[in-house]
């Protein structure tokens, strides 16, 4: 999705360089007091979700990432980061947020 000037005007934040997150991993950020997990997938995309697992509040940023699938570090629930949905269970969903990289590799999160 191209990065649009109007969208960021209200509620976008620059979280700094993507180099803060090693490829294939996630890291946790605080935005206006709210915790957000940002993932830097080897598929070239960046994803953002709520920071804690809806199951037992594991830090999702410490999970394992494969493409757009995230596996929680505690009990291995898997989530599709594109939709936030838990695999095999439509009822359970993570909050997801739009996130883009600038040409300079800066992470822009839209809340």
């Amino acid at each position: 999705m191209p990065f649009s000037q109007t969208e960021i005007a209200l509620k976008s934040v620059n979280l700094g360089s993507i180099q803060q997150i090693p490829p294939g991993e996630g890291r946790e950020f605080a935005v206006d007091g709210e915790l957000i997990a940002i993932f830097h997938s080897r598929n070239g995309k960046t994803y953002a979700t709520q920071a804690l697992c809806p199951h037992r509040q594991a830090p999702l940023a410490d999970g394992l990432l494969g493409g757009a699938t995230l596996q929680c570090p505690y009990h291995a629930w898997k989530f599709d980061l594109e939709t936030g949905r838990k695999l095999g269970d439509d009822a359970c969903e993570l909050d997801t947020y739009a996130v883009n990289l600038t040409a300079a590799g800066e992470i822009i999160l839209t809340l």
Binding site: I8, R27, F29, A30, V31, R56, G67, L70
Partner: protein
């Protein structure tokens, strides 16, 4: 509505066909285990909307669990504790109960029943569930002048019987029980508790001849005699002696036995007369079709001990449940095609405090029937199986019924038995099923880690998931500690009814790369793939599968050693930060303490560090070292630096610890220096990646204080300066005693052979496969040939590869100085504000 002995309100004229409610009238004669259960099944199927239900019960209360009368007699339960349907149940369910009212006859033409107090009740549908009554064989003097039983003579069928027996037993000095079947023995056991001397008189030449073969009968007899019951076999009672009251018994052979009470337990007779007199076909009991309907009258159903189905009359409860279900399905039209196929009789019984399970035949019947027997008469244990082809056709377990559930299930479903017959009779590994699949309630929790019930697994299968893996993925059952996996498999097989699909990926090393381990290794080597991402690129169409990353990382490290191209995102969080993640997102720190031997200085240092970082818990582990729990991610590097000790790898799939005992240093029994051997082992193999965890121990003598015989690898010192090497043991989620692999002459030999074994394990085990599975899978003999006799000519190579891996070891805690990735130990990277 409950009625006791209604005195008036007799209707002369037969009421109209339907009730005011417009529903049909369903009458049930008999309010026992079959009658009441069948009504429950009918209600479950919405029967209350179709029928006005009325029940007649000869006994003046609601339905109770007749099986538990034995407990009532022996005093372990009170009569009011065994009710299944208390009176309130009838009211709540709108069932009219006439308790204490006996039905005398059925008028099929008028479609009415007549009670003994002269009242008539119309029906549209009728269920006969009158059960059976005790059979009293003809014996001189058994009756009093009125035709009742002589005072002092009792039968054992109802609560009332129980009360009478108990009332008499308290003043009895010697009691005789006629009949050495299940019920007779239970009565005898009950009587023992009243302090009387108890004799069992049995006609056949061994006890419980219907359920046991003669050997088992003999063992049971001695078990009973040890408990104080005197057993007389092959004895036929001719007369009950005594004027006005029992004083003894006389047998056909002329011998006599003095006694002041007699309990007759010589079998049962179905209460079928009521059907016979109404003109229904009655042989041993009332004959029914496959819907449990009388063969003569489509409006009359028969269920329970008074029914004869396909020539069989059952005297146990399990068949009654199945009959009731078919009847209810048919009657309510929920499933008019329902068929009762007859039941296979498998029972678990508690006689005389003796555990007993029996099913099917007791002796081989066909030439090829295979008989497997284990007998240990002294401890009262006897186990016998009769196997035809690959299925179980009969089994007896006496004295130890721990394997009963599995066998009952195999018997019931005719599932093929495993080749290793011994595993059917003994627990060789971890405990299994707690009841047959059929018996097991849906709520039973199968996976204790993820709280998945039998019902949830069943639903998942019914929803279309027909392979073990698909069910595990969907429900998470079996994906916790893994100890329930075999049970999950059993449930899946049961629910699939034999149509289990095998998921091909179970043969792959990791699910995301469709290759078995040896093919995968060959591909990795030939294509020179040194990183996880390159493997996905080359061998999995570039699809990075999350569940495959850790397994691939472990394998690549084993193959390439120092030349492995490490991508940190392929590691589990524990292996990225070299500590074990905890439930509150803190971590635990376990420094290596070689062989469990430490020093005062090191202990002081650990204490100081714990204080400095405010560690919430300091704990000795089961691996003979110290765990600092509850450490923040940020504090990890600082703590390691302060400790100045190497990592204990308590978080990794790798060599863990080598526990030791004090051995020759201090122990008066020590035969070999287990302590220094353990330290040397741990120094050499620390941090070594393995497919599953490797835990070791060394023991200074076969007393085995360090539990070396239940470790993945264990060395036990024996006389003569030698060491026994055990492999494939474990005592965690799965318990297996290690196999004695070989006997070696020195510390060096032990360490060398352990290394060779581990390298072979690293190359050939599946990911996460512990040695307790790996060793039996490959086979001990084969492992000996390969690793001791070098049958494949690979020993030198294995030794060299192991040396290379040992040389490649770097303590991960050195990353305290130079982190490997950005923000490796940061919990919260940064905070941002709106732009």
């Amino acid at each position: 509505m409950i009625h006791y002995h209604p005195s008036v309100t007799v209707s002369d004229n037969i009421p109209p066909k339907t009730t005011p409610s417009g529903k049909s009238r369903l009458l049930v004669i008999g309010n026992g285990m079959a009658g009441a259960r069948t009504v429950e099944e009918i209600l479950l199927r919405g029967g209350a909307d179709q029928f006005d239900i009325t029940m007649f019960g000869d006994e003046p209360y609601g339905n109770y669990n007749r099986i538990l009368l034995s407990n009532v007699l022996n005093g372990s339960q009170r009569a009011d504790e065994i009710f299944l349907n208390p009176l309130s149940w009838y009211t709540e369910n709108d069932v009219t109960l006439y308790a204490g009212v006996r039905v005398k006859s059925i008028d099929r033409a008028a479609k009415t029943v007549l009670t003994t107090n002269g009242e008539t009740y119309p029906y549209d549908k009728l269920i006969i569930a009158t059960g059976s009554r005790p059979f009293v064989p003809p014996m001189e003097g058994v009756n009093d002048e009125n035709g009742g039983l002589k005072p002092g003579v009792f039968v054992f069928r109802t609560i009332e019987d129980c009360n009478k027996i108990a009332g008499h037993a308290v003043k009895s000095r010697r009691a005789a029980v006629i009949g050495g079947g299940l019920l007779g023995l239970e009565a005898a056991k009950g009587l023992l508790n009243y302090g009387a001397e108890v004799h069992v008189i049995h006609l056949a030449n061994h006890l419980m001849e219907n359920q046991l073969d003669s050997t088992a009968g003999l063992i049971l007899r001695s078990t009973m005699e040890r408990m104080g019951v005197k057993v007389h076999l092959g004895k036929s009672t001719a007369a009950v002696l005594g004027e006005g009251h029992v004083t003894g018994l006389r047998f056909k052979d002329g011998e006599t036995l003095d006694c002041d009470m007699v309990v007759v337990s010589a079998g049962i007779r179905p209460n079928a007369e009521i059907g016979k007199e109404a003109g229904l076909t009655t042989e041993r009991a009332i004959v029914v079709d496959d819907q449990m309907r009388s063969v003569d009258d489509p409006d009359i159903y028969v269920v329970g001990e008074c029914a004869q189905h396909r020539g069989k009359v059952y005297g146990l409860v399990a068949p009654l449940w199945e009959q009731g279900i078919t009847l209810a399905d048919h009657l309510t039209k929920r499933k008019e095609t329902a068929i009762y196929h007859g039941s296979k009789i498998a029972t678990k019984l508690k006689v005389m405090g003796v555990e007993l399970a029996s099913m099917g035949i007791t002796e081989p019947q066909e030439a090829d029937d295979e008989v497997v027997v284990f007998s240990e008469p002294k401890r009262g244990i006897y186990k016998k199986m009769i196997i035809r082809g690959d299925t179980l056709v009969g089994a007896t377990l006496l004295g130890d019924i721990s394997k009963a559930s599995y066998l009952m299930q195999a018997f019931d479903r005719g599932t093929p038995l495993p080749d290793e017959r011994a595993s059917l009779l003994f627990d060789l590994g971890t405990a299994t099923v707690a009841g047959t699949m059929l018996e097991m309630p849906n709520e039973t929790q199968i996976c204790n880690c993820n709280g998945v019930s039998k019902g949830a697994i069943k639903d998942c299968v019914l929803g279309g998931k027909k392979s073990l893996k698909a069910v595990m993925d969907a429900t998470r059952a079996g994906t916790g500690c893994g100890s329930c996996k075999s049970l999950v498999k059993e449930v899946v097989e049961w629910a699939c009814d034999g149509e289990v699909e095998e998921d091909p990926s179970i043969h792959y090393y990791v699910p995301g790369v469709p290759l078995q381990k040896h093919v995968l290794i060959a591909a990795i080597q030939s294509q020179n793939l040194r990183s996880v991402s390159s493997v996905f690129e080359a061998l999995a169409n570039g699809v990075e599968e999350v569940g495959s990353k850790m397994g691939l990382a472990s394998l690549l490290k084993t193959i390439w050693g120092a030349e492995y191209e490490d991508e940190r995102d392929s590691r589990y969080i524990n292996d990225r930060v070299h500590a074990n993640i905890q439930k509150d997102r803190t971590f635990s720190v376990v420094p290596r303490i070689f062989g469990g031997v430490t020093t005062a200085d090191d202990l002081i240092k650990i204490g100081e560090v714990a204080k400095k970082y405010d560690v919430p818990m300091v704990k000795f582990t089961g691996g003979q070292r110290i765990d600092l729990l509850g450490v923040k991610k940020e504090d990890l590097p600082g703590m390691w630096k302060d400790l100045g000790m190497p990592s204990g790898h308590a978080y990794a799939k790798s060599f863990r610890t080598c526990k030791t005992c004090v051995g020759t240093d201090f122990c008066r029994y020590g035969l070999g220096d287990s302590t220094s051997l353990g330290i040397a082992i741990e120094k050499r193999f620390q941090g070594l990646e393995t497919p599953g965890k490797i835990k070791m121990a060394t023991a200074g003598c076969p007393r085995n204080c360090s539990e070396a015989m239940v470790k993945d690898l264990g060395a036990v010192a024996i006389e003569g300066g030698k060491w026994e090497l055990y492999v494939g043991g474990g005592a965690g989620a799965h318990i297996r005693k290690g196999d004695l692999f070989c006997t070696l002459g020195s510390h060096e030999e032990v360490i060398h052979m352990m290394g060779r074994f581990m390298q072979y394990y690293r190359e050939n085990a599946k990911y996460l496969e512990r040695t307790y599975s790996f060793v039996p899978r490959i086979g001990l003999e084969k492992l000996r040939q390969i690793l001791l006799e070098d049958s494949e000519g690979i020993c030198d190579r294995l030794d060299t590869e192991m040396q290379a891996s040992v040389d490649a070891y770097v303590d991960p805690w050195l990353e305290a100085e130079t982190p490997a990735t950005a923000n490796q130990f940061t919990t919260l990277v940064g905070a941002g504000g709106a732009i």
